[in-house]
Structure formats: C-alpha cells, structure tokens
Symmetry: D2
Subunit: 340 residues, 4 copies
Amino acid sequence: MRFYSDNTATAAPEILAAIAEANQGHTIAYGDDPWTQRLDEVLGQFFGTEVRAFAVTTGTAANSLSLATLSPPWGAIYAHEEAHIGADECGAPQFFSGGAQLVSLLGANGKLTPEAIRAAVDKHPANVHTVQPTVVSLTQATELGTAYRPDEIAAISKLARERGLAVQMDGARFANAVAFLGCHPGDVTWRAGVDVLSFGATKNGALAAEAVVFFNLERVRDFEFRRKRAGHLISKSRFVAAQLLAYVESGVWQRNARRANTLAQQIGRAAGSTLMYPVEANEVFVRLGEPRKASLRAAGFGFYDWGPARSGEARFVASWDQREEDVAALCKALNESELA
Amino acid sequence: MRFYSDNTATAAPEILAAIAEANQGHTIAYGDDPWTQRLDEVLGQFFGTEVRAFAVTTGTAANSLSLATLSPPWGAIYAHEEAHIGADECGAPQFFSGGAQLVSLLGANGKLTPEAIRAAVDKHPANVHTVQPTVVSLTQATELGTAYRPDEIAAISKLARERGLAVQMDGARFANAVAFLGCHPGDVTWRAGVDVLSFGATKNGALAAEAVVFFNLERVRDFEFRRKRAGHLISKSRFVAAQLLAYVESGVWQRNARRANTLAQQIGRAAGSTLMYPVEANEVFVRLGEPRKASLRAAGFGFYDWGPARSGEARFVASWDQREEDVAALCKALNESELA
Amino acid sequence: MRFYSDNTATAAPEILAAIAEANQGHTIAYGDDPWTQRLDEVLGQFFGTEVRAFAVTTGTAANSLSLATLSPPWGAIYAHEEAHIGADECGAPQFFSGGAQLVSLLGANGKLTPEAIRAAVDKHPANVHTVQPTVVSLTQATELGTAYRPDEIAAISKLARERGLAVQMDGARFANAVAFLGCHPGDVTWRAGVDVLSFGATKNGALAAEAVVFFNLERVRDFEFRRKRAGHLISKSRFVAAQLLAYVESGVWQRNARRANTLAQQIGRAAGSTLMYPVEANEVFVRLGEPRKASLRAAGFGFYDWGPARSGEARFVASWDQREEDVAALCKALNESELA
Amino acid sequence: MRFYSDNTATAAPEILAAIAEANQGHTIAYGDDPWTQRLDEVLGQFFGTEVRAFAVTTGTAANSLSLATLSPPWGAIYAHEEAHIGADECGAPQFFSGGAQLVSLLGANGKLTPEAIRAAVDKHPANVHTVQPTVVSLTQATELGTAYRPDEIAAISKLARERGLAVQMDGARFANAVAFLGCHPGDVTWRAGVDVLSFGATKNGALAAEAVVFFNLERVRDFEFRRKRAGHLISKSRFVAAQLLAYVESGVWQRNARRANTLAQQIGRAAGSTLMYPVEANEVFVRLGEPRKASLRAAGFGFYDWGPARSGEARFVASWDQREEDVAALCKALNESELA
C-alpha cells in the first residue's frame, strides 16, 4: 500500500494506446512529426489562448529550461523554500541558467506572497554588484498540497510586472489544482499573468511527458536551442507528443486528477487534527509523531517522512490509480491512530 | 519511401510489449524500481563483464553526460570532424562539461587514427595555458557508416592510456556495427579499452532509450548527480529500463540491426560507382550529382543531402522496419540512374 | 569627507615602492618570477604553517576561485545572508563553480553559528535529489564590522569536519579582524580549522592584490587551471606578488589596520546609542534616521545607506588613510546629532 | 638576454608615474572614479569615433568577456588555429560564454580569409542541431607576427555582416600592428568593420591593463554584469584606467611599439633564410634546427620553442625595453649561425 508519491503510479491506458497508435509508419524526427505539430493548437484550445508548447520528458527539464530561457546567468529567481526547483532538483536551474541565484522565500501553506517577493526584490537593486531580479517561480498545486487561487496568482503577477519579473509556474500537479479549484485552466495561468507553465502529465497518468507552455510568446526566444543542447529534444518525438495530446484530448487529465484529489480528501478527513495543511490537491501532510508513523509502516503502509528529522511529520500522496481498498485501509488506520 | 534517418522508424513490438508489461502496480520512482535495478546485471551479461549502466532517453544526453563525467571544464575532447557530438548536438558536450574544448580531427572513412590523436594531444602540453587532454570519443558505427575493427579501437585505446585519456564511444548505431563485424559486444568495447559506451537503442527499435555503460567502474564518479541535475533522471524510470532490458534480452538488438544492415548492403551494391564509403552498417553515402538526386526525389524517395552545398552527395539510411519493396524500388532507381 | 568604503582609499607608499622596485629587468611571466615564487614561503611564515598561496587582483576572484575549487557544481555553500559572496558579487560563486547553490543563513552580528549551519545541512541529505553540502564560507571581519573569535571559528570548523564540509574564509578585511583580536593570524585560520583564506590587501593599502591562501594543501587541486581559465593569472605577475610581499613584510597590513580600527572606534563611540553592532574592525553601522542622515550629507559627509529603504540606517567605513580631521569632524557631527 | 615574450618586460616609467599621480585622495571605487570616466572620451579620440571602453587587467579577460557578450552558449566562434583564445587561454572563451564552440581555421601567415570562414560557417546551418555562427575573432598583430591590412579586415567583416556574425579583434599587440602599418588606429578597427577590440597595453609597457573597446555600441549589452560576475571589475579602478589613459595620451603606445618593431626587424634580417614569416610586428619566427637552437641557448639567449616537438622552430620576441646590445648580440649569433 504505497503512498510515497504519484510518480510511483502506472501510466493510464489511454496514454499507452496513444503511443501504440502513433507507432505506425515513418515520420520525421526531432519534432517535425504530425503529433508534435499539433501541440500548439491542442494546448492552445485547452488553455483558451494562443500558446507555444514544447514537449520534454521530465519536470526538472521543463522547469529548468523555462527558467534558463527567462533569466540570464546573473538573474535572481524567487521561489518558496519548499519549491521543487530549489529543494529537489539538485541545482538544475543553476545548471541550465549558467548560475542564476535561487532566492528562497517563506510563506504560509507553501505559497508565496507579493509582500515576501517585494522585500526580496528590494535587496537586489539595479547595479552590477548584485544578481538582478528576473523570475518569480510559483508551484501549482504547491509542494504542501494547497492550490493558489486565481486572485492570489494575479496579485503576484501584478507585482512581478511592476518590477520587471517574469512569472513561471511549476505545474507538476497542475491538473490536481485545476480540478480542485473547478476553474478553467486559463484562470490560473495566462489570465492571472503567468508567462510560462511546466504542464506536468507524468505524475497524473503519462509515461514520461511534460509540456513547457509559453503564454507570453515573446518569451520563447532561444528555448529550442537550449532544449536541444541539453539533450531534451527527443528524436522519436511523436511518442512524447502523443502522450500529451491524449492526456488533454481524452480527458485523462481531469478524470485522474479528480480521482486522486477525492482519495486525498478522504485521507485528509481521516487524519483529523493531525492534518497540517488544507487538502487541495492529492497530497496529505500530517503530524503523527514517530510512534504512530512506525506502527503505520508496520501495518504495511509506505510513505515518506517529511520535515526535520524526528519531527513526526509524514506525507501521503494519493495517485490517480490508487486502489480504493488501500485508501480505505489507510483512513481506517489513521482514524484509529487519531482516536488512540 | 523515407530513407532520411533511422530515427524516423517505429518502435519494435517487443519494446511496446515490455512497456505495457512494466505498467503494473506501484513501484518506487527515480531508478529504485526492479527494472532499473536489473540493468547492471543484464547489460553486464550482454557485454561479458561487470558494468554500471544508466538509462537516459536521448543519445545527446548519453554522450554529454559521459563526456562531462570524464572531462573537467578545461579538458580537450578529441573526436572526428564528422562526430555527432561536434556536428549535431548544438554544443551539448560543452554545456554539460562546463566548457570543455572539442578538437576536430580528420580521418579516412570517418575513423580516428592514433597518429591524428597523438599530433593533436601534443599541442596541449601539461600546463595551465592550454586545455588538457582528457577524452578520445569514437563513434561506432561511424558517422560515415563504417565500423571500427577491434584492433583499430585497441590501438587508439593504447595511445589513450599512454597519454592519460579516457576512451568514450558514441554507440548510437552500436548494434549495427556489432552485427556487421560478427563479433562479441565486448570485443569492440571493454576488451579493446573503451571506458564508457553510449549504447543506443532508440534508432534500432526502442521508443526512447539509451544506456550509458561504464566498463571502467572507477570512472562513474559523479555521473548520477550530473544526470539528475540535467533533468535526465526519469521519474517513472521503469519504462526506460524496460525498453533496454527487452532490447537486449529479446534479441531485438541483433535482429533489427541485421535487417537494416542487409538492406543497406543492397542499396550500396545498387549505388555502384557512386558509393563513397564501404557499407558496414545501415547507412549508405553516394555521390550522385544534383540532377540525379532531384530525379530520385521526384520519384518519391526521401533522403538528406550530405556534404557541402551542391556537392551532389546524399545519405540513405536503412531503418530496421524499412519496407522491402521500398528498398527494392530504391535499388532499381539507383541502378537505372547508375546506368543512365 | 568620504566614509563610503575602504576601497576608495589610496595605496600605501610601501606598496607603490615595491612595485617600482620589482620593475627592473626581464623576468618570466605568469607566475614564474622570483616575487611570485616567494609567496608560499613569506605567507607561510606570516601564518605560521606551510601554505600554498596564489595572487589575484580582486576579492571576488579570490572568493569565487576558492569556492569553485572546493565545491562541485551541485554543491551547497552556506554563508551568512550579509556575506559579500551572496550579496555583492553578482553571482560570481555560481559562475565560477558552474552553478553551486548559495544557502543564506541568519545569525546575530553578521556571524554564522554551528546551529544554523547544522539545520541547513540537514536539509540536504546524501542523495541525487538535492544539492550536496560542500562549503561553509565565513567572513572575517564580518560584513557588519564584527570579528569572529578563534573559538567561534573552531566550533564552526568542528561541525564542518563532522559533516564533510570545507571551511573557506572571505578575508577582505582580515587584517582589521586580526588587529582587533590581537591574535596571531594563524589563530583565526588554520589553527581554527580554516581550509582556505581570501587574504585581502586591496582595501587595506594595496593597489589591487589578494592572495588565495590554502592551509589545507590537498584542497588546492585544480585551482591553477581555474585561475588561468578565468583570466585571473596576471601576465606580469611580479607586480601583484610584490604588493603582497610588501604588505606582509613591511608591516603595512598591521599598521594600516590598526589605524583604521582606531578611527572606527572613535566614530563608534561618537555614535552612542545609534550604534547597531560592536565596532571590531573598521566599519561602523548606525541607525540615525533619515533626517539626521540628510543633515550629515548636507554637512559634507559621504557614506552609504544600509539596510532596507528608509530604515534610517547608515554605514561609515574608516579607511587606513582617512584624515584625522575628517574623523574628528564626523565624530563631532554624530555627537551633536546624538544629543539633538 | 631574454627574448621569451613581451610580457617579461618592465612597465614604462610613464605608466608608473600615472599610477602614482592617481594615488591621491579618496575616490569612489568600481569605476565611478574620474580616471575611468575619461576612458570613453580618450579612447574615442584615439580611435576617431564614439566608443564604450572597459578596463580589465588581462588579455584573457578582455577576449573572453567580449566573446561571451557577443555569443550565446550555443554560438560558434571562428578563429585561426594559432589564435591565443584557442591555444593559450585554457578554454577561457568557453568558460565565460557558457560553452560556445571554438572553430579552428587554417590560413597562411596566421591570417583568416573570407573563404575559410565562409566554408566553416556553411557547416552550421540555422537549425537547433548545430552551434550557430556568431563571431569571427581576428588577432592583430597575428600570432605569427604579421599584420592584417585594412582591406583584409574589411573583406572579412563584409562576409561577417552578410552572415550575421560579429567581428572581435584580439589586440594584445595592436599597437605593434598599427605602428607597422603606419595607419590610423581606426583604419584596422571600426572603419574596417570591427565591432569590439581587446586593446592590449600590458605587453607594450603597462603594468596590467587592457581595454575592451566597443565600436558597435549596441553590442555592449550585458558586458558590465559579465565583468563584475567574473571578478574583473577592479575595486580601485582608477589605477587600471590611469594606465590606459597614460598609454594613449603620452604616446607610449607608439613609441614602445615602434622600438620593439624595429628591433624585431633587425632580428628578422639577421635570421636570413631561416625566417618563417614576414616580420610585421615584434615577433620573429625562425626555423633554425635543434642544434643551432641549442648553441644559441648555450650562448645565453632565452627564447621559446615553436611548432611541433623537434621541428627546429623558435620564436624570438622583441620587447619595448629590450636592450640594444642584447639584440645586436642575437643578430650576430643568428648571422653566424646562418653562415655556418
């Protein structure tokens, strides 16, 4: 009964079917295939605006390539201290950008605020002695399983515009956030001022597929050179594009996100007073104490520790394909544990 | 009738079947899955020696990650002027290595020689004023469709050892070379002194899978940090590993390479006096002249120009899944063209 | 009456004399001159232990070259949030290191503590997903004009050793700290566990000269390749080495530092209750309020704002060659201002 | 009797005098001093056009900072195979540019030709698979002691413009070339289409001073961030600027270059039939054979080997301060040797 992460999940049958369907006949490689060439149109319709979309196979690549495109080597990238780009990518943004400086900010529930960003940007005046403010990076859903509301994003983007910063969004769990908010995908991206989105599909049912989606078309610039040079232009590109097309066109994105969210809600309710943050996506953070974590593990539940060592915190992730009986068992165990 | 490149080809059914078979149940991500954990053993058996093997999704990533692992930023990497790493990867080795210098060498039939390497290395003495010799990069099969013989590789490796250089091999078409030579995979790698191989599967029937295979285990060093940091550690890693396992264990590697080679031999024979290099893998280079190229294209044959503009040179690549009737038609057209 | 920074000061006559004296006859360039070749010995005697010392012309180069030598691109470098390497060098450490991650830590009076470092290092466990702890960077004297005591440094170094980190010291104002502490230069460096020191001379009387001093000789590794490749190996190297030799051998380092410290003490006493930090080097930080800052400026005193905009904070730096009457005038003005 | 290189020479008295003169009173650091602020005007008058000029302390920094400003990381920089940037700077251009690819070209007498450049540029078509042509780098005087004529440079610049390339000039020995040609400094720079010049002073009488001179002001872009970030913004910048101002305003540049050239001409004539290239600056290349080299060394002459090992080639450099009797002795020895 594994609740480690949604990347332990399988790929959805629609995704495998799309790959099989794309596997017919010769087609030009490196993006000049019919599948890749439909990406802009299909994702444009999905988001409700003109976009330029590029397929890659990892979220780290999606984030780092877009950040490097937005920021020169002497840029400052502002992100929450929990952000994947700072905490879990082994310095990838610095590698791709040629050494941009990540600035870690605090904020409740995993969210940045305009105030925190403003204070940080003020420390980097316009002279050659400091790194220069270039990008705000948001994570939607956040690393703590919460979702930015459209107006929260818009307020950040407004500040970003005033200070000359681009807004990048790490959307590894974007579908979960949109499913929770019940909004249009455009409402938490371009309509709220986001310039570029890492639109994740892998965690939510794809094999290995993420789209870098530019809403601000002027920002695309040299993205394609960066992607090729980083080894992220897949030769048989049809197979990545086909996953993304199926993800959006079949409705897999929404079906899978809704199911995972629902299961996470159940777990969150079972967690009761141990719940640390509102459950607004498919992740549940609980402060159980080390003994209860140990007994859950002894009972067969797999999950990651969270927070500082011996803090008693834990993270449970509900994947799109999580078995209902496993979730029910976990809820039961958490309930008993809560009552004990 | 497309003869552009073997990356226009489909994936082999065995590969898709292996992906589907791996798509069951939850498994830990980022390489801690049973498929990835079998790679060392299975590839070790394939090559006949202990290896450390790492899965990635592109040849550019495989080459650049291994070169960056072998060479500091001030290293000199010696390669043939036709080598993919210098001509077709948008400077990826420089990006991954932090700016190592590629040194282009000449050599008949796309092959390096100990003499050419020695002369180049001599230009980089051991002081801080010049880049320092670190790696010889060979391509097997070469970019001109020929195959290094075991003793040719051994002679280069001997020099490399004497001068303190590592030997890296770009094996995007490694299976084609081994199939042509009829040798054991170890004969043109570790037995001949190769330290690291980019073992390509994509062009020869995989979806997107290449293995970086270290024969010299001391050279692995920080490879895994480099891979993660470059966004090339696939989260659902089982799906890349499963391709590589099937590629080797099912015999797809050999069956596909033999078929492609055989078809290329047919095309080479049809090319007659226009043939530029021996056909020892699945690529055929011909000097047809621009008018004959134009008429072949008018007749429906797709292929890339080669060499300088208006040189009349062309490249035909036989893919593993090339239709026999298409090859027959091409041979006929080349024959007629030859006779005309 | 300029109290902006000690880099607005002149060079000491002994330094210019040493340059003139070195300007005789031909001598081999790029460090193979008699002046440069004496650096190890002379600085070794100064510090009381065997060292390897390398001359460069800026503090940014000294810090960044040593950090890049100590840390791979995926390393984490821990420093105080006020540290010059993070706040004032436009991302130089990231550039030189190929993208290492700077981690900003808080600490009273500009000083790091073992506790703050331990908590930060704990966030970077030994796996490929996060940057890896590699260096603690201390500034002596600190950016807030205080000086680490030998036991404070030793406690940090002890933790660093336990966790596998190197200890680098930014000593742009090293002489001021030693002059204040009245200790031996070795007491706050190698005897306290420091691996590498950026030993600054420029601010304290040189023209343009800093020495990177390795106490831990195993750490030197590829420093010389990095220096050359960064354009920091001066061709007529005798002129930089001669400055460093004169700085140490003539006693300029101590005389100048003592004088600047004494003047700063005077200013600090005059500042009275507005003083923000103990004056332990040649910098004085005061919270004057914006009106008093304005009137001081109107009276002809030049100095930089400090802290957040409109915080009313200011920094006064006493240079080695500051005129006594200017300091007296400043003290008088601060006193009156204090009393007003 | 040292003929190793002109960087073994002393600094001219006018340069030291200028430094001493600048060493009075406090002045703002990091380029906001009166000396630095005169650079644009004084060098603009020298070159006869509006320029932006930036002082650094090494030629490697000057070249690499300008190349990095002109070329993205995926750019191709075309230079002669003898060029300092490729042969003697330990890969600095790759480091500063984030991995641009140096392309080595052949050409008689150390000079590039439009034909060689055109053929090389043709190998890098406008797609993501190859590095993109961005800069032609010329060396004036060349590494073989010859000087490009204005029309030779103009022809290269014309091609560069047509192909979208910038033209950078490594002018470590620029004064020697201009003195030989008897032309205006503008004739071999902006009037001939050069965008940026590394205007060297160190080899010709300065202590450590080079100016990066932009004739194409739009190309300046982010140069200042790059310089700071690389540790090449000198804090007491007045002392570097003062050298450059004195170099130009006092006529030292011309006096020293003429003298060195004249001495080299004498050596060249003495070399007779062993002379390898026309002597058009202050370097003399001779093919003496190993025995004659050995006897010259035994007679007390210091010089570097040149060319491949045991080729019998040697380089003699006449510095601005070379003693006449030493040159006379060398000429005599070469003559005898020639006659022997």
